[in-house]
């Protein structure tokens, strides 16, 4: 079987919209068939999700930032699947600042900024480690960044079970709660924090400027389109790969700090069971945006609304609190999986044709 590029691709902006609608339709069917969920209840949960910006806000901020982060590397055709690991590393770095330095007691404002900045540096370093083999050995970044997500979980798990195990945690395996003065203040009436909102604005404008007005941004975009032009212009392609992936990890890392300071306030063991999976969900956001920066917040809003809808559905049908988290996120997974699947199928058939030939 071979895949041939179509001479005439379909208009591209239609695809995310169809993928979204078809994905929701399929989700409703799957949920009805497998879980007996009433379509009306699912749809009303979706309406709820889309009409409550205040509730959606926290997820929206995180997903927009991850979407922006992935967009930077995707623009260079570097497929950073490691957002999750970079966020986890960011979470670790922010936790260190909050729990193991004196900064929160000396200057809480500076401490919050440090949490975010250090989280970014940690995320950047984690991405850099994946970028080096990609740049100099040509090792595919997709499996490398993916595997590094699990290594990141593992490292944090070791810390939480060992040196970072909290003193006031009863029998739970988790770190202590961070001091109240470094819990990020909330924007009234919403689930998001001021820190998150400011960070979002800074990163959005910053990346817009980077891609548009700097030679690094231009070269990342050309890296994605035709690295041969970089070579013949005398620009190092390995270096640009490293820059693209590291910036991506740098931005993604900040979400770890937001997650700590505005959401969970501590790391619980095992960290992989307590993650919001923003690193993976962000991939959907980046794709739905068709790699247009302006569309990232739109895509993020849609995805976070569906995210919220999944949880709201559980409340509507009155599940127990314990079930709520797991079943809620299962529904989110159905939504996100269906849309991503539809998106992939549509992109493929719009650009490629599949033909069958028999070898030998």
């Amino acid at each position: 079987m071979v895949i041939v590029r179509r001479v005439k691709p379909l208009p591209y902006w239609i695809i995310p919209i169809i993928a979204l609608l078809a994905g929701i339709a399929i989700s409703v069917i799957i949920l009805y068939v497998l879980m007996g969920a009433s379509p009306a209840a699912v749809l009303s949960a979706i309406v709820y999700g889309f009409t409550r910006p205040g509730v959606v806000a926290k997820t929206f901020v995180a997903l927009t930032i991850v979407g922006i982060a992935l967009l930077v590397s995707f623009k260079g055709s570097i497929w950073n699947i490691g957002g999750e690991g970079q966020i986890t590393f960011g979470l670790m770095a922010a936790t260190w600042v909050a729990l193991f330095t004196a900064l929160p007691y000396i200057n809480p404002g500076l401490a919050q900024v440090s949490m975010i900045l250090l989280a970014m540096v940690a995320g950047g370093i984690w991405a850099l480690l994946a970028a080096l083999p990609r740049a100099y050995l040509g090792l595919d970044e997709v499996p490398v960044t993916l595997i590094m997500n699990y290594i990141a979980y593992y490292i944090v798990d070791i810390l939480v079970r060992g040196p970072w195990l909290g003193k006031h945690v009863y029998n739970y395996i988790r770190t202590d709660t961070i001091p109240a003065q470094v819990m990020f203040p909330q924007v009234p009436g919403t689930t998001m924090t001021w820190d998150g909102l400011f960070l979002l604005i800074i990163l959005f404008v910053g990346v817009w400027y980077l891609l548009r007005n700097t030679s690094i941004g231009l070269r990342i975009r050309i890296l994605g389109n035709n690295p041969n032009l970089l070579r013949s212009s005398g620009i190092s392609v390995p270096l640009m790969i490293i820059v693209a992936l590291t910036i991506s990890g740098f931005i993604a890392g900040s979400v770890g700090a937001l997650y700590l300071g505005g959401d969970v306030y501590r790391i619980s063991y095992p960290v992989e069971a307590h993650t919001a999976n923003y690193g993976y969900t962000g991939i959907l956001v980046a794709w739905l945006s068709m790699l247009e920066l302006i569309a990232v917040p739109i895509a993020a809003y849609i995805v976070s609304a569906l995210y919220t809808a999944g949880i709201q559905y559980q409340i509507l049908v009155g599940g127990h609190l314990g079930q709520l988290l797991t079943a809620g996120s299962a529904i989110v997974d159905v939504f996100i999986g269906s849309i991503l699947l539809m998106y992939t199928i549509l992109i493929t058939i719009s650009e490629y044709k599949i033909k069958i030939i028999v070898k030998r």
């Binding site: 071979v2 041939v4 001479v7 005439k8 007005n213 700097t214 030679s215 231009l218 070269r219 975009r221 050309i222 389109n225 035709n226 041969n228 032009l229 970089l230 070579r231 013949s232 212009s233 005398g234 620009i235 190092s236 044709k353 599949i354 033909k355 069958i356 030939i357 028999v358 070898k359 030998r360």
Partner: protein
């Protein structure tokens, strides 16, 4: 995916009889793109059994016209009449079903498959479960008939550009093409293959087939074509019969008053300064598939002269040029630029020190077609460090668009929306601007129309004469080599087999050395 219905293809080819009904007629075909009318009410009749040349300057609409015929573009207005019946072509599959197949300048076949696998992809009658080896025989027989040698089992990435183009054409014939659309498909084949191909085309037409031939080599078109249609700015400038066509008439139709500038006379010989700008000493460079493509080449370029490198494609010119640009490792030998040993230096060093570079295959190595013209200019390290000064680069871009008459709605247009020749102009304009000390070029006027090609050569020569820029130019086009060079080096099988002062060089002698 689902096979296109393999229903009886219309067999509309009656034996060739002059004066018969056209096989393809276009009536009032109009195609607009944002900011341009690429085709403006085109009327055209193409008769079976003829070779029909389609000529016109860069951006005239030739490629758009054949893409309409191949179902890639749907016309905004007008009618395509195939064999007497109005027909809608909505995809290349439709066109192929009607016996219309296009071959373009850049090979479309898939590198990871073998020749046979590539060919079988399009052949419905062998689809889907016939083992590939079964078609080997057919491929061998057919390629013999066409007069080309090709191993059906070889993977395409191992083939040269020439061989890939031959596979494309073979594939078109095996697809049962009745009408072959050749969009500069054979323009860049080496002379020998090209001549063999023109013979085949002639035979194909004599046996009742139809060929639409796009080329910028007007003499070749006059040699092989029965009919000539000239397009200008999206309109038909004129239809000519072989008998009435003269080079002056054609050029006048193509270029209007610009045709007066066309001359193949040698440009003035430069008086180089004694200083050596580029020196290559006993250079050994590997080819793509192992083996030395460059074998002990030594040469010298003085300040303010043009060294032309003549040779048939595939004799090591590409590797030599890439090694000089530090894009290919040097196994042995040295390269000295401006008194500095650059054998271990990077491309970057050259690019920020006044070296312009025009690579072969511009769309692949010289521009990024998804990016805009202005971005393709800004990418060079001399124009952008840190924060890009877009105002300055926009100004430069607008100047170049004007100077080189690049046909584009705006400097922000993605390069992929330009015509083939205009893409090349973007590259050439950019590189001539940065070549303040040395120009390294391989086929610098590829894909350009005659008038533009000559203009580019004049600009290069002017820089050499006035600003004492040096140039090393490899080209497969001997007219070009003779017109622009001050000295001519002939390259054959990786070696320099002779160097001549251009004003004394004999064409026959050089041709002989090239193929010896």
């Amino acid at each position: 995916m689902a096979a296109e219905a393999n229903n009886a293809k219309p067999t509309f080819l009656s034996p060739p009889q002059e004066g018969k009904k056209p096989i393809v007629s276009l009536r009032g075909i109009t195609k607009r793109f944002p900011g341009v009318i690429a085709l403006d009410h085109i009327d055209l009749d193409i008769y079976p059994g003829t070779v029909h040349a389609l000529l016109g300057e860069n951006g005239a609409g030739k490629s758009t016209l054949v893409k309409v015929l191949y179902g890639i573009y749907t016309p905004d207005e007008g009618e395509i009449i195939i064999n007497g019946r109005p027909t809608r072509l909505t995809s290349p599959a439709d066109a192929i079903n009607m016996g219309i197949v296009m071959v373009s300048q850049s090979p479309q076949i898939i590198d990871t498959l073998t020749v046979a696998e590539n060919i079988i992809l399009g052949l419905e009658k062998y689809n889907h479960f016939v083992p590939v080896t079964k078609v080997y025989k057919t491929i061998r027989e057919e390629s013999k008939r066409v007069g080309i040698k090709i191993d059906p089992g070889i993977e395409v990435w191992r083939l040269s550009y020439t061989q890939k183009q031959l596979v494309e054409i073979l594939r078109a014939i095996l697809l049962g093409a009745k009408v072959l659309l050749l969009d500069e498909a054979i323009t860049y084949l080496p002379i020998e293959e090209k001549q063999r191909f023109y013979k085949f085309i002639r035979r194909f037409a004599d046996e009742g087939g139809t060929v639409v031939l796009i080329t910028h080599k007007i003499y070749e078109a006059m040699d092989v074509a029965d009919k000539i249609t000239v397009l200008r700015r999206g309109k038909v400038a004129g239809h000519l019969d072989r008998k009435e066509a003269t080079i002056e008439k054609i050029r006048a139709l193509m270029f209007g008053e610009r045709s007066a500038e066309i001359t193949y006379e040698r440009l003035p010989t430069a008086q180089p300064e004694p200083k050596t700008i580029l020196e290559v000493k006993d250079l050994w460079v590997m080819g793509d598939f192992g083996g030395y493509a460059v074998q002990g080449v030594s040469l010298e370029v003085k300040k303010g002269e043009v060294l032309g490198i003549a040779g048939v494609a595939g004799n090591g010119q590409k590797e030599l040029i890439q090694a000089i640009m530090r894009l290919r490792p040097v196994m042995k030998g040295r390269i000295i630029y401006n008194g500095e040993d650059i054998t271990r230096k990077t491309t970057y060093y050259l690019r920020v020190n006044g070296v312009g570079y025009i690579p072969d295959l511009p769309a692949k190595y010289g521009v990024s077609i998804e990016n805009s013209i202005i971005e393709n200019i800004a990418v060079l390290p001399v124009y952008s460090r840190g924060i890009i000064n877009w105002d300055k680069i926009r100004e430069l871009t607008l100047k170049l668009i004007k100077e080189f008459e690049i046909k584009t709605p705006s400097p922000d247009t993605p390069v992929k929306f330009l015509s083939g020749g205009n893409i090349m102009k973007v590259l050439v304009a950019r590189e001539l601007t940065v070549a303040t000390n040395l120009l390294v070029a391989y086929n610098p006027t590829r894909a350009l129309d005659e008038a533009t090609a000559i203009k580019v050569r004049k600009i290069i020569k002017e820089k050499v004469l006035k600003n004492k820029v040096s140039a090393i130019i490899a080209s497969e086009d001997l007219d070009e080599i003779f017109q622009i060079s001050d000295r001519i080096a002939v390259m054959n099988s990786g070696k320099i087999v002779g160097v001549f002062p251009a004003d004394k060089a004999k064409r026959e002698e050089i041709e002989h050395l090239m193929v010896m």
